[in-house]
């Protein structure tokens, strides 16, 4: 982490909430944004984030670097991310164990990576390039899976091997885990138990939706609804195993009033307060 600031529960920040976010003071409150939404030269959005950053810790959660791509990450993209890191000195920087660019086209979504040795090498290369560009280690987020991938190894060990090889940490998204467990049958509790606590630098929670055609058999990582009870339970279990970690509530669609999101933040804080700085062995 950069800066000695204690992070408790944070919130994904949207421009429509800048004023309220800036005026809100709560111990351990922090905000996270996608750097890709702030890659402009100037204007009110960038200015608004600067104002927030004066009084609150900010983290950058990238979505467009295509770390697991066949080709290395785009150097211009890395330069722009590095510029934002320099400008905002975020407390955390993270990206995804996915890919999105191929032969000069950006496919604007987080696409699945089969877990093979060759693809692991691509991902390690991508993470390393990103870290070198910004001058610090990042956290790598576990993906949401909609279908079981043809793979040589399980996801949790795949991610930990990438972390060991590249020096990055892990961002554990428990909503992604919940969605993946439902869709592909993985055991989310075994997954969390297998994680080395020292590698995990952040936890994400979010809502998801049910596929209109296939119902509950297919959950979609839509970030458009409140966190469900099963995800809250996974958060509790994760904190029990991993110890206190910064927790971030994501909401990217059907954005409710800021006050509603803060109620979920408060609910998350009730859970994190049980774990403080002590690690409890599960």
């Amino acid at each position: 982490m950069h800066g000695c600031r204690w992070l408790d529960v944070g919130l994904g920040l949207k421009p429509e909430h800048f004023d309220e976010a800036g005026a809100t003071q709560a111990p351990g409150l922090w905000f996270e944004v996608h750097p890709e939404n702030y890659m402009m030269e100037g204007g009110p959005r960038l200015s608004g984030l600067k104002a927030i950053a004066r009084n609150h810790p900010i983290s950058l959660h990238g979505v467009g670097a295509s770390l697991g791509g066949l080709e290395p990450p785009d150097t211009e993209h890395l330069r722009r991310v590095a510029g934002l890191v320099e400008r905002f000195n975020p407390v955390l920087v993270s990206e995804h164990a996915t890919w999105s660019s191929y032969q000069g086209a950006y496919y604007a979504d987080l696409l699945p990576l089969p877990r093979t040795a060759e693809i692991m090498a691509n991902l390690v290369r991508g993470v390393t390039a990103y870290q070198e560009a910004i001058g610090r280690p990042i956290l790598l987020e576990n993906p949401s899976n909609y279908l079981p991938l043809s793979s040589e190894m399980d996801e949790v060990n795949f991610l930990m091997d990438v972390a060991r090889a590249s020096g990055c940490g892990i961002l554990l998204d428990v909503n992604n885990l919940y969605v993946s467990a439902n869709n592909t049958g993985l055991d989310p509790y075994a997954y969390i138990r297998a994680l080395r606590p020292a590698l995990v630098g952040e936890i994400h929670i979010a809502g998801h939706s049910v596929d209109p055609n296939l119902g509950e058999t297919l959950l979609i990582d839509s970030h458009d609804s409140p966190v469900v009870s099963g995800v809250w339970q996974l958060l509790e279990f994760a904190l029990a195993h991993l110890g206190h970690k910064p927790v971030l509530l994501e909401r990217d669609a059907q954005i409710p009033p800021f006050a509603d999101l803060m109620q979920e933040v408060i609910q998350a804080r009730r859970i994190t307060s049980n774990w403080g700085n002590n690690r409890v062995n599960a």
């Binding site: 890659m39 670097a65 604007a108 979504d109 043809s150 596929d211 296939l214």
Partner: protein, 252 residues
């Protein structure tokens, strides 16, 4: 399936809806129909960013029609960078080729939407004040240029008023229609942002020529322009905050 085939196959599936590209990516027996989520996600993101960047076009065409256009544009000219913040720069020209002759004006609305957005996201520039010019000790400090975030554009139709009224009266459930009579004359428009609000104005021909020349602070040929008219224009530009001081960087 080789590693390059994995990426090529998913790209082909998203772009061309060709499911054969997914063979080997997922475990045998997986319901490949579910992979539509990745394709849908891509086109949804394209639609969302383009509808946000071209709100007046959306109002004029309706969201259903716009969604089809956005999807076609996403296929024809996919984003190239890992951010969608600056995606859509070619949309207006592409749109011009898609529209019927009766709707050719829509491309001009797209040009206005995009120029406004570029101005909004442009470099924060500090307009020069008259007092700075009057009290300058170094003649180099008296050189001015158009605000770096300003955007000058020439339209085929005089649509600024219609665009402004539509943008300000934004109601995403209302499809607006063009007035029966629109001026078919060219129109020059400038957008500029002295602080955090974007301003716009129609320009007379000579104004546009002079402001175009003032984009970089290079020497402006005012030959033929009435000196009084030039003084009035310059004063208006100063008051409106359209001009900033040149820096050494601008002169390169």
């Amino acid at each position: 399936m080789s590693t390059p085939d994995i990426y090529a196959g998913m790209a082909m599936y998203i772009r061309d809806r060709e499911p054969g590209g997914l063979d080997g990516l997922f475990r045998p027996g997986a319901n490949l129909e579910i992979a539509r989520l990745y394709r849908n996600g891509y086109y949804r993101n394209i639609r969302e960013v383009l509808s946000s960047s071209f709100p007046v076009v959306v109002q004029c065409l309706g969201m259903d029609n716009f969604t089809t256009l956005a999807k076609n544009y996403g296929q024809a000219q996919p984003p190239e960078r890992g951010t969608l913040t600056d995606y859509g720069g070619t949309f207006a020209n592409w749109l011009a080729d898609q529209m019927s002759p009766e709707q050719s004006w829509v491309a001009d609305l797209a040009r206005l939407d995009w120029a406004w957005l570029e101005c909004l996201h442009g470099v924060d520039s500090k307009p020069v004040a008259a007092t700075e010019l009057l009290t300058a000790r170094d003649p180099e400090d008296v050189q001015v240029r158009r605000l770096e975030n300003s955007r000058l554009l020439k339209l085929e139709y005089s649509l600024l008023d219609f665009w402004t009224n539509t943008k300000l009266g934004k109601d995403e459930h209302r499809v607006v229609t063009l007035p029966n009579s629109i001026n078919l004359e060219d129109q020059w428009v400038i957008f500029w942002r002295p602080e955090m609000t974007v301003y716009s104005r129609e320009l007379k021909g000579i104004e546009a020529q002079l402001l175009e020349a003032l984009a970089s602070g290079k020497h402006v040929d005012t030959g033929g322009t009435d000196a009084d008219e030039l003084s009035v224009l310059f004063g208006q530009w100063l008051n409106a905050g359209v001009l900033q001081k040149c820096t050494r960087e601008h002169e390169k």
